[in-house]
């Protein structure tokens, strides 16, 4: 059975994209000193959206200096209650301009408009609203009687949730009293640059938030800048390790939110329809380009065949295509480079002997696309069972006992998230205790909330974002005893 849908595209008229963007430093857009730029494209069409400035060393210097000035002269002297009101303003402005942000995010990132509209943008606004309220209550947050900000925070964020990751970084930093230099990912700079415009509407004092665009080199200049007191990075584990090594020996505070290879564990007594929906949400949400994606399905042997059959049936109904279409479930892969990685690892899965199944769907001719894919007969030693694919590719493994499920789930250097599906409450709680992961979703998956701490064990990083715990990353330690 198949359903035909008429196209239902969201209008892109709500957002004006400039042909070129400068760097947002000290409250204004400025040209980069070297005059270098790069292009950002719509990954669904390969259409060039804008020319974006590439920040070099003098630009990063300027941004850090602006953040330092704003910290010394304005932000550190302002009462928390006033900082709070700026953050509330930002939250409200984001909500007011939500459609604009959602459309821009989808154009620049390739994610379905349904997700940017219903998840990314509202959750980003909620994050600012949540942390706004902390700004004047820090002394009650449990970090000692006189919690102090670090100073200037350097923040480097990924391309998978550009605006949401910006919110996760900037909201707690400002609430705690830091000023910020943020570098968005080079393939998705536009929502951060639109956010700069929003900051001007909020009349946030110049220099409190600075946005420098560029690629890895710009990020490296920023985190290694001597004027930076705190670094927050979200991205891959190899880059996180490199940053940790570069920062070593300095007194810069560091938090890392890195990769994952989450196990989504389904027991034979699981509510199977809910589990199938949870598995789909776990690995095909945002095209699987999610650090906490449920990329390893661990299914109890007795129900493996039935579950995989149902999963394939469900995947066959997913609508892959135009991200701007409100009916689209799976959008475009963010970049040619990412598509290449997904393709290579999937090929490795076939080469190493796993069985590949791909949903039958027509992919657009232009743009970067990868159809939802499931691998069965996966061995724990296969690359597709060990490495983060960051794409819509699910590896299915089986287990017999809860202990074996735990052993397989934990058999990874990562430890970001995990899923458990069973109707047995005591088993959920036992499993939750055993799993070495920072977020455990039981009978649900990929839920996020500003009040809920998020972050990894082991090589998935350290520090938490969200909730009271998320404030700790932006407050300096007192006594080290």
């Amino acid at each position: 059975m198949s359903f035909e849908y008429a196209p239902a595209p969201e209008s892109r008229a709500v957002v004006d994209i400039a042909s070129s963007y400068g760097l947002f430093i000290d409250g204004t857009f400025v040209e980069p000193e070297g005059g270098k730029t790069f292009k950002t494209v719509n990954p669904a069409t390969e259409e060039v959206l804008a020319d974006v400035a590439e920040a070099g060393e003098p630009d990063v210097d300027r941004a850090v200096a602006a953040a330092r000035r704003a910290y010394d002269k304005v932000w550190s002297r302002m009462p928390g209650s006033e900082r709070a009101k700026y953050l509330y303003r930002i939250a409200r402005l984001l909500a007011e301009r939500s459609r604009e942000f959602a459309v821009l995010e989808t154009l620049d990132n390739g994610k379905p408009i349904r997700e940017s509209r219903d998840v990314d943008v509202p959750t980003a606004a909620a994050h600012f609203f949540y942390y706004a309220g902390w700004a004047d209550k820090l002394e009650h947050a449990g970090f000692g009687p006189n919690p102090r900000p670090h100073g200037v925070a350097a923040q480097v964020i990924p391309w998978n949730f550009p605006l949401l990751m910006l919110a996760w970084k900037i909201a707690p930093a400002l609430a705690a009293g830091n000023t910020v230099v943020l570098k968005p990912a080079e393939t998705t700079p536009l929502s951060a640059l639109l956010f700069a415009d929003l900051l001007r509407q909020a009349e946030l004092p110049p220099g409190v938030v600075n946005i420098v665009t560029g690629a890895r080199e710009t990020g490296s200049l920023l985190v290694n800048h001597p004027g930076v007191d705190k670094i927050a990075f979200t991205g891959s584990t190899p880059v996180g390790k490199r940053i940790a090594a570069e920062v070593a020996g300095s007194r810069k505070s560091l938090t890392l939110e890195l990769g994952g290879k989450a196990a989504n564990i389904v027991f034979d007594d699981a509510p199977i329809d809910q589990a199938v929906e949870g598995i789909v949400n776990g690995i095909y949400f945002n095209q699987g380009q999610v650090c906490c994606a449920g990329s390893r399905l661990l299914v109890q042997e007795s129900i493996a065949d039935e579950l995989v059959d149902r999963l394939k049936r469900r995947l066959s109904t997913l609508r892959v295509g135009d991200p701007m279409d409100k009916n689209t479930d799976v959008g475009a892969i963010n970049s040619a480079q990412q598509l290449e990685r997904i393709t290579t690892l999937s090929q490795a899965g076939e080469d190493e002997g796993a069985t590949r199944w791909t949903a039958a769907c027509e992919l657009p001719e232009k743009g970067y696309w990868f159809a939802p894919t499931v691998f069965t007969d996966v061995h724990p030693a296969h690359r597709i069972a060990r490495e983060e694919i960051f794409g819509p590719v699910l590896s299915v493994l089986t287990f017999r006992t809860p202990a074996e499920a735990v052993q397989k789930a934990n058999n990874t250097p990562y430890g970001l998230s995990a899923g458990i599906w069973t109707e047995k409450g005591s088993r959920i709680l036992w499993m939750a205790d055993q799993l070495r992961a920072g977020v455990v979703w039981a009978n649900t998956f990929n839920r996020f909330d500003p009040t809920s701490p998020f972050g990894g064990y082991k090589e998935s990083g350290y520090g938490r974002e969200g909730g009271r715990h998320g404030l700790a990353a932006y407050l300096a330690e007192g006594s080290a005893l």
């Binding site: 909620a126 449990g142 455990v440 909330d449 809920s452 701490p453 082991k458 938490r464």
Partner: protein, 292 residues
Amino acid sequence: MSARLDVRKTYKLFIGGKFPRSESGRTYKVTSDDGAFLANAALASRKDAREAVVAARKAQPGWAGATAYNRGQVLYRVAELLEGRRSQFVEEVAAGEGIKTKAAEAAVDAAIDRWVWYAGWTDKVAQVAGAANPVAGPYFNLSVPEPTGVVVVLAPQSSSLLGLVSVLAPVLVTGNTAVVVSSEKRPLPAITLSEVLATSDVPGGVVNILTGRTAELAPPLASHMDVNAIDLTGTVGAEGVAWGELEAEAAGSVKRVVRPRDSEPDWSQIPDGPRRILAFTETKTVWHPKGM
């Protein structure tokens, strides 16, 4: 009548609940602050360090799996035994640190009290650092601190017992296991502490103590892929050790790192909170839907 000749102690390593000599067969001379011979301590090797990590990893699930109440009792029991050995510790601390008996007594008393202070945290830290998170949806959402796993502790160089206790006890509270590199020049109280631990109810492997050169033992432990965290406090005043290099080594497995202060802290100060406990924890957040 001739004076009785005392029976001296052989100071050895403490690994997996046992007291081996270094597999290398090496020892080094430990002297008092004024240069008098005190003992030959084991000069631990890289292999000893790796063995200690294996022992700590093996013991970790059991220690973390004990109830918080039980861990509290076991740690409190250690304080009881420390009290019983008070005079021995006073002697060793006074000789090693070159301080007067009165000052040594104060340090040992503070160390015992510090241990009691931390023992009491086992069943409270989750209530202080955990949270029931009010998410915007029909979900139960709970955050709890859990032990990070195996922790390497470079013990302070100056304060051989109070400093050691101040960095070791917080690691153990939540269920981590520890590989301790003792003060290089003042290792004897650490080994005597291991004798206390061996006769307490702390399971073998939960604490492992290496004596030797910090500069030799710290790098392989900092880069060890099966170590979750490292406390660099003891790099202050350690010969031939740059803490930044150790932190860079630790990045290879994304270890949690506690950096040293610029100088060794005044350990007589009571900690201003459970910061050292929380430095070696991971926050786990569990979600579950609510519904009829």
